[in-house]
Symmetry: C2
Subunit: 321 residues, 2 copies
């Protein structure tokens, strides 16, 4: 499999992390390259927080909380109670154990390491064999234009609970940010077998990655399979504000809207069985439609969807698909 | 009482904090000014940690752990387990709730506030009415010269568990550090009724304060009472390495050694009943000797010793001493 090149996955947080978990179970570690959105990253109480890298890291180290959907399993919250007591900001929840990752990362960054290197060290220490690459070591914060003015992503997402209606998004510094060199090298060395776009929010999880200077060109020059998985099932987002955003942007909230959004780069599109009727419209866009069971509710369904995505990308697994 | 001027207490951590707790129960808040040693302060995993200010803050907010002797009562340690897991340094223990103070302080300092202002904010939020002033807003780290070379204070104290034999101490930057302006003003305005030196380690808790440029002169020009409490009882330190240090420095480990150490500035010295026989030797130094029960094992004994110290400093309490 590895002589075919790597499977590059563009991913946001929770939903993407589920697919990445599945892929990590069917691909050898060196065949998988996960590119994480860092547009959500922010500094909070002096700590550098990278929500999507964290979700991927916890998913791959089997530490993710399966119920809450973010952070660590068996988490405790004594720090937050004390932080409130000493007058700290309490709108962003930091678990006692989760805090270790933030403090260690902030410390590594302060000592001069880049985010890629800091992520590598944290993953290694947690036993994660899959490579997670931040889209860039440069900060490219996602700003959300809303009816109440411009908000940073976490202000919009956590503090305002996605309530303000969105008008658009900008990715500050994306033009000049340096694409992760590991990702660039992979494309330059023709070491990419296929690109997968995880079932993440197209506007605020995947678009920030695509916006990094040079990456769009790189993908356009790539002649292998590019397959996206729809985060919209039956008109609704599995998690998060993707469907709400579509409506606010004047778009139908549907799997078709997602396919149209990625139209220029896709060769294939994986959509859920409940949206099977949309398949002809996807094909009309000159994109192969793959109807699958896309709900990832347990380890087995994550692995199944991972296999389906690889099949859609014409990747032949050593052990058979 | 307040028209007499303030009671200025020079204090290290745990032992000093017990006396300060007692004083806070018998003096109105504006009559007490606590000057905290910051020679132990250090940066750890990107956080600014001020052990003596913390001990004073927790003592005065009734959050101190009475058994462990440092940190917060009912503390939990989930962060430390996770920190070890992600590869962080684990030689210095940070409780889940204690961490809130360190993160909030580090955040305040990073946003441009001085240590005095950060301490004021944290104390206010925890309901502490007594003023705690860091000896200086400038870092003056205590370095310990040992047989194994020079160590920072926390390396010596926590990491090496005070094992290496000490040869001397230096207070880096003490010459040029700016004495806390609040303390300076107090002396310049003749607003000091008496100075108390808490039963803290003379070498590494009190000497750093005395070493700050200008403070020794200020104390020399002060004609009110200056009373120290012996941290050595029956030849042993109540807590910490003071007695061990004396032996290693070639001095008898005794209350008399403490009195001799402060000889130039003291008018009075409070020593324990078990050391009553030493009183004539103290008097021979031209220092009044006050024999008291100095062990502070509960709230009552803290208050009793506080009253005894104030009496030794000729301070008349409003409610009667």
């Amino acid at each position: 499999m590895s002589d075919q090149g790597k499977i590059v996955v563009l991913s946001g947080g929770v939903g993407g992390a589920k697919l990445v978990y599945g892929l990590s179970k069917v691909l050898p570690p060196d065949a998988l390259l996960v590119v994480a959105n860092t547009g959500d990253d922010f500094s909070h109480m002096g700590l550098r927080i990278c929500p999507d890298i964290d979700s991927l890291t916890y998913a791959l180290s089997d530490l993710a909380d399966p119920v809450r959907g973010w952070g660590r399993v068996d988490e405790t919250w004594n720090f937050m109670r004390a932080l409130k007591q000493v007058g700290g900001e309490d709108w962003f929840n930091l678990g006692d154990m989760d805090l270790a990752l933030h403090i260690m990362r902030s410390h590594l960054l302060q000592s001069g390491k880049g985010l890629t290197e800091a992520t590598r060290i944290l993953c290694r220490n947690l036993g994660v064999q899959t490579t997670i690459l931040p889209m860039s070591d440069d900060p490219v914060p996602t700003m959300v234009d809303t009816e109440s003015g411009q908000l940073s992503f976490q202000e919009y997402f956590v503090r305002e609970q996605c309530q303000p209606s969105v008008k658009g998004f900008s990715f500050q510094g994306a033009d000049t940010a340096r694409l992760n060199p590991g990702l660039r090298t992979c494309f330059e060395n023709d070491d990419v077998a296929a690109v997968l776009i995880a079932p993440s929010n197209p506007f605020v999880s995947i678009d920030p990655i695509l916006a990094i200077g040079g990456f769009a060109d790189m993908l356009e020059g790539f002649d292998g399979p590019v397959v996206a998985v729809s985060p919209i099932v039956g008109g609704n987002a599995i998690k998060g504000p993707a469907a709400k955003m579509m409506v606010e942007l004047g778009l139908p909230s549907s799997a078709l809207t997602v396919a149209q959004h990625y139209q220029d780069i896709l060769t294939g599109f994986v959509l859920d069985q409940v949206d099977a009727a949309t398949a002809p419209q996807i094909k009309a866009l000159d994109i192969e439609a793959h109807v699958e069971q896309t709900m990832m509710t347990d380890a087995l369904s994550k692995v199944s969807l991972a296999r389906a995505c690889l099949k859609a990308a014409n990747v032949v697994l050593d052990g058979g698909g």
